[in-house]
Amino acid sequence: MKTATADTLDAAFAALADPTRRAIVSRLARGDATVTELAAPFAISLPAVSKHLKVLERSGLISRQRDAQFRPCHLEAAALDGALDWITTNRRLWNERFDKLDVLLADLQPTRKREEGTHG
């Protein structure tokens, strides 16, 4: 299992910044696919798709078999998890903190009256 490093995480975020590449990654999450299969849903040329695949490959998010005839693309789950974990971990952290803060604020305002402003 590959460990994500700062550099690979940077590359993953950069690669995922593009909507076409995100769609390609999403498709590959459901299974390996060839360039032709990946290009099908998009109104862009095969060379354009190939360019996106090169970026994804350099980022470590996908790999391609060197010897197979149609060189199917494969999603590298570990690299993707590295990028996703940062976002989901921090989002969850704040969400759980703020759930607790909500409870605390209710405790601190036992006589809280809704819609009653103290300033004009």
Binding site: L9, A17, P19, L84, E96, K100, L101, D102, L105, A106
Partner: protein, 147 residues
Amino acid sequence: MAELGELHFSRIFDAPRELVFACMTDPEHLTHFWGPTGVTAPRDRMTVDARPGGVFATVMVNEADGAEYPTSAVFDEVRAPELLVWTESHSGMRVRSEFVALRPQRTEVRIHQTYVPEAFLAPEAQAGFLSSLDRFDAYLAGLVTRS
């Protein structure tokens, strides 16, 4: 379009802005919510010197196994009751919290967290408890929604 390595998060609270701001800067309050679910942040191990250059240090303790996650940050900007900015020394992550008064008794807190590579080395990220491709579609949907 979501920016690279940045996280935006917001929540609306039924409380005046001064009180919400106080909760985010007073250890007596912070200790009650700073740790996420299953994690405590003991009051006696927390330092909050809320002024530019002041220290913001906590220790989060996992209730299940006692594992400790010390965090250490320095405040960059403090404008009560509207803005807090700190940079975490252990991760290099910059966190900006804006407090917006929607009404006298209603406050929105907007968190803007800027990614730096070392953040991934944090214990929570390495724990791998979020490793799953299942979330990816939801993640993509979120990105699209914000586009």
